[in-house]
């Protein structure tokens, strides 16, 4: 072994020293491929199970119960239990959160109802909370908010006033935390909780459990039964399974999985193609050297070993660096992904960090082995001859044909003809660019589609301003100075009067919303009712048209699926003994978190839901009106009792996803560019003598650059032409799958996003990748000294 490996290692070292550019290309491509694959696979794995990941990190509560306080609550050990936390006092409190003023923005107020738990610390054997910013309450008067509930008031230092309580206690937000199973929406010290509990409200406590067996609904049900049995009869008020929370979390993850899978698969295929191309090309280019080694006494085994080591060294370096880069890139992306998923911190799994480089090394080895074995079987003379004159058998006809093209400069035709000399290499390079441009095309369409989805769902363009009606419900906002609250009709009258006279108002319509149970539908149904023409409110229609009259309604996809009906059918809604029959006029694009939704006139839905009352006015503005200035003026005119909001289509979630799309696309385009770089480097190495001849007969550096760039520009252009339809097909396949995961169909406006000018630009993306990959070696070729090139074999 020593006898074989020492010369092999020496020969490999010599080979590496003599072929630094190839070694660098191998290292770089393996680096980028490993980084892209690590990132893609890491995201794939994390997108498949982020909830499980966060659940494991936080030791999430498999069963959360609320119960009447008793001694047994703390001491009971239900059968099969492995860990518990609590009891923690729990209450529900109405709160007013004062939003801090941001630069250029006025301070705001958020009124909300939160479930508050009393905990001395965020840690524990169960539901080990992730404190994402700030600190845990250290004294009374401090509160930590659930990170995902932060909304407009979720800033450190914000003031929270508990309303409807004697003395209206005031708390300061000192931290933001996340609970994977949402055990509470805010936390205070246990000693603080009694101050927040409304007079007369019952005292309840929560207990959090983990069990030996809790993988299925049946097992969790058995665990809850064990808890019930361990507590005093009648003391258990409610029990929540983590599986229910997981189902909701998965519902928010699922729409993003298809596009991450698409990018991951493109990345893996490109990595395979380019690694194989780089290493096969490097081995082929080194055939002569193998012949020389054999001629001085190397055995075929030593030749193969020498070459595998020569390939393995830069490949290994690329793998190690690629894993590091992949992990570094994943930090912000997985952070954003975790935010999108509403779960704790995510990281590339260790097994991905090991599996990806090992797979890449194996791939490099397999790619190098076949040509090395082929070269090792050649006689020394054949190997030297093959290596010295690696002449292509093809391409003569193309050279001759293009040589006759009168309108094109000769360096251009020389370049355009060269891919035909090495058809196999050209095809692999073409495939790499095709996949790169498919990724770019898909990403461009996906970005536009997601933007339109965000615009459609926010309806910010159509109704940039909303006015909230204070209402007269059971928990009204107090009037200024505790005065009496005007009737709903009076509030509406006030709003309409101000809207009519406010400069810039184009349209406005009253909107009412509620959720009711409907016979025959498992989920509660969201009701959205308009008091006027809703045609301008910005809902995108998937099929059909807007309702016309009190006997028609529009519904979302989840409603159609749950009710088993189609647009054009009639459907009778039954709730609490009341019946309303409507004909389904259209299918609106509004996933609504998978919840069935029906949109109709107020007069159509009011008979079904007596509690349905106007809660806001949607306002459209005249062209050129500044929404923020309009909202400020309107807010001044209406007074403090009315909240005026401006809608924005820019959600942090959308930005996170778009940055993910851009990063993956750039990585894949870079990999395609490196594939081109490798092809051009191999091509130049093989034709360096010819380049010397070209220069000797008068080819200028600029003409040399043009020739080399044109040798891949044609491939890039063809790749672009092939890739555009493929990218559009991928987009049209993945978007509906994403929509399906979000339980909605997708409107044509979200799918038909490719404009003719965009398609032209995207075709040029192949050219850009090809030219970018070729520029560095082209410049090297242009700088090559003619005399040195002529001496090259």
């Amino acid at each position: 072994m020593r006898v074989m490996n020492r010369p092999a290692a020496r020969a490999a070292r010599g080979g590496l020293a003599g072929r630094r550019v190839q070694a660098m290309v191998i290292g770089l491509v393996v680096l980028v491929s490993t980084a892209a694959s690590t990132l893609a696979l890491g995201l794939l794995v994390d997108s498949n199970a982020p909830f499980d990941h966060a659940f494991a990190i936080q030791h999430g509560a498999q069963v959360m119960v609320t119960a009447i306080p008793s001694d047994q609550l703390a001491t009971a050990t239900p059968a099969g239990m492995t860990a518990k936390a609590g009891p923690f006092g729990e209450t529900t409190a109405n709160m007013t959160i004062q939003q801090l003023a941001a630069p250029g923005q006025p301070a705001g107020v958020l009124q909300t109802q939160l479930t508050v738990a009393g905990r001395a610390s965020p840690g524990g054997p169960v539901d080990d909370l992730t404190l994402t910013s700030g600190h845990w309450p250290a004294q009374p008067g401090q509160i930590v908010l659930e990170r995902n509930r932060r909304g407009p008031g979720g800033q450190l230092g914000a003031q929270v006033t508990v309303t409807g309580m004697p003395g209206s206690p005031t708390l300061t937000v000192v931290g933001l935390a996340s609970s994977v199973t949402g055990t509470a929406e805010a936390w205070v010290l246990p000693s603080e909780l009694p101050r927040l509990r409304a007079p007369g409200a019952p005292q309840v406590q929560q207990m959090l459990y983990r069990f030996a067996s809790a993988g299925t609904t049946a097992e969790v049900s058995a665990d809850i039964a064990a808890v019930r049995a361990a507590l005093p009869p009648g003391s258990l008020l409610s029990a929540q399974s983590y599986l229910t929370v997981k189902l909701q979390a998965t519902g928010s993850i699922a729409p993003w999985v298809p596009f991450i899978v698409a990018f991951g698969l493109i990345g893996l295929v490109m990595s395979v193609l380019i690694v194989a191309n780089v290493i096969s090309g490097a081995v082929a280019a080194g055939t002569r050297r193998i012949g020389v080694l054999k001629s001085i006494g190397f055995s075929p085994g030593q030749v193969v070993a020498a070459y595998l080591i020569q390939v393995a060294v830069p490949a290994l370096a690329g793998c190690v660096a690629g894993v590091v880069v992949g992990n570094l890139l994943s930090v912000p992306l997985l952070g954003q992904t975790a935010q999108v998923y509403g779960v704790g911190a995510l990281a590339v799994p260790v097994w991905v960090d090991l599996a990806v480089p090992l797979a890449m090394l194996a791939l490099a080895g397999v790619a190098a082995l076949a040509p090395a074995l082929r070269a090792a079987r050649l006689s020394a003379v054949q190997a030297i001859a093959t290596g010295r004159a690696p002449r292509a058998s093809g391409g003569y006809a193309a050279q001759r044909l293009l040589g006759g093209a009168r309108r094109l400069p000769r360096p251009v035709t020389l370049g355009l003809a060269s891919p035909f000399a090495r058809p196999a290499r050209t095809l692999v390079t073409l495939a790499a660019i095709v996949f790169g441009v498919v990724a770019v095309t898909f990403a461009a369409g996906l970005g536009t589609s997601l933007d339109r989805v965000a615009a459609d769902l926010s309806r910010a363009a159509a109704q940039p301003v909303q006015v909230e009606i204070p209402g007269t419900g059971p928990a009204p906002a107090p009037g200024p100075g505790g005065g009496s609250v005007p009737s709903l009709a009076a509030q509406e009258s006030t709003v309409r009067a101000v809207l009519r006279t406010q400069p810039g108002t184009l349209h406005y319509v009253a909107e009412a919303g509620d959720e009711i149970s409907v016979v025959g539908l498992a989920d509660r149904v969201s009701l959205t009712a308009f008091g006027g023409d809703p045609g301008w409110t910005g809902y995108a229609l998937i099929t059909g048209h807007w309702y016309a009259g009190a006997d028609q309604a529009d519904v979302n996809t989840a409603f159609l699926t749950a009710a088993g009906i189609a647009v054009g059918d009639s459907y009778t809604l039954t709730s609490g003994g009341r019946h309303v029959t409507v004909r389904i006029a259209g299918e609106v694009f509004d996933p609504a978190g998978g919840r069935p939704e029906i949109i109709a006139g107020l007069s159509a839905l009011a008979p079904l839901d007596p509690g349905l009352a106007v809660d806001q006015y949607d306002v459209a503005l005249k062209p050129g009106t500044d929404a923020a200035a309009y909202a400020t003026a309107l807010g001044r005119a209406l007074g403090q009792d009315y909240q005026v909001n401006t809608a924005s289509g820019n959600s942090p979630q959308l930005l996170a996803i778009l940055s993910l799309v851009v990063t993956l696309t750039l990585l894949l385009a870079a990999v395609a560019g490196l594939g081109v770089l490798n092809t051009v480097v191999l091509q130049i190495r093989e034709r360096v003598h010819d380049i010397g001849v070209f220069k000797a007969v008068g080819m200028t550096p600029r003409q040399t650059t043009a020739m080399v760039v044109c040798s891949v520009a044609g491939i890039g252009l063809v790749a672009g032409l092939i890739a555009i339809p493929a990218g559009i097909v991928l987009h049209h396949y993945v978007l509906p799958v994403m929509g399906h995961a979000a339980q909605t169909a997708v409107p044509a406006s979200v799918l038909d996003v490719y404009q003719p000018w965009e398609v032209v630009l995207l075709v040029l993306a192949g050219l850009v990748i090809a030219v970018a990959g070729a520029l560095a070696p082209a410049s090297w070729a242009a700088r090559t000294r003619t005399a040195s090139a002529l001496r090259a074999e």
Binding site: A417, A421, D690, G698, P701, R785, T786, A787
Partner: protein
């Protein structure tokens, strides 16, 4: 006679610490002159030719060809200089295997941007003059050594250069074919074509050049008029 090539104290070192390939060479070649450069292997003959052709740059000294200060030209300037002033013939022909004979010959004219019709006419004229017109559409691999060298000569002449540089033009040919190529070069020189011929063959130098210089260790060891020329 007017001076076409002027080398003034030219030195070329490939290695800072090593011996110079060409050392303090001063040389003049007139228009229409045929000069043979002789010397043993490693004496600096090919380096001298490369310096005149602008394929390499001197470490010191000045190289002037037809009014151009070759050692001061940029890479682009050198390429244009080679198109205009110089035609080169190599020992191993240096033809491009994937191009036909006609395409090989036309290449320098095409790179120079000459009109298509003019190029075609010039190529036809040269192929006929060098008796390789029947091989116009053949690829170099199908030609004999002598035919390939004729193609290389045609390519060197296509832009009507003032100076023809030949580096061991018969070195890869059998004796009879070498004689044939030598006669061809002689004919060209007789028609006024300046020629610098590098060879280690004293017979060839004596028969086909009017003047012979001897290079030894990069320095001119002798400069004499040849006597046996036809």
């Amino acid at each position: 006679m007017d001076t076409l090539v002027q080398l003034s104290d030219v030195t070329k070192r490939y290695d800072q610490d090593g011996a110079p390939a060409v050392a303090h060479v001063s040389l003049a070649v007139a228009h229409g002159e045929a000069l043979a450069v002789m010397g043993p292997s490693g004496s600096g003959k090919s380096t001298l030719l490369n310096l005149i052709a602008g394929l390499d740059r001197p470490t010191s000294g000045a190289v002037r060809v037809g009014g151009d200060r070759v050692d001061k030209l940029s890479e682009t300037g050198l390429a244009r200089f080679r198109r205009r002033q110089v035609g080169m013939i190599f020992q191993f022909f240096n033809l491009l295997d994937d191009m036909t004979v006609a395409d090989n010959v036309a290449l320098p004219a095409q790179l120079a941007g000459r009109p298509v019709a003019e190029t075609r006419a010039r190529v036809d004229e040269l192929l006929a003059a060098l008796r390789i017109a029947p091989h116009r559409d053949a690829y170099p691999a199908r030609l004999s050594g002598g035919e390939r060298q004729r193609v290389a000569i045609a390519r060197a002449l296509v832009n009507r250069p003032a100076l023809l540089l030949a580096d061991e033009p018969t070195g890869a040919l059998d004796t009879a074919t070498g004689e044939e190529i030598g006669e061809l070069l002689l004919d060209l020189n007789s028609s006024g074509q300046a020629l610098v011929l590098v060879t280690h063959n004293p017979g060839l130098a004596a028969r086909y050049a009017r003047r012979v210089i001897q290079l030894v260790d990069g320095q001119i060891a002798g400069d004499a008029v040849a006597g046996a020329r036809r």
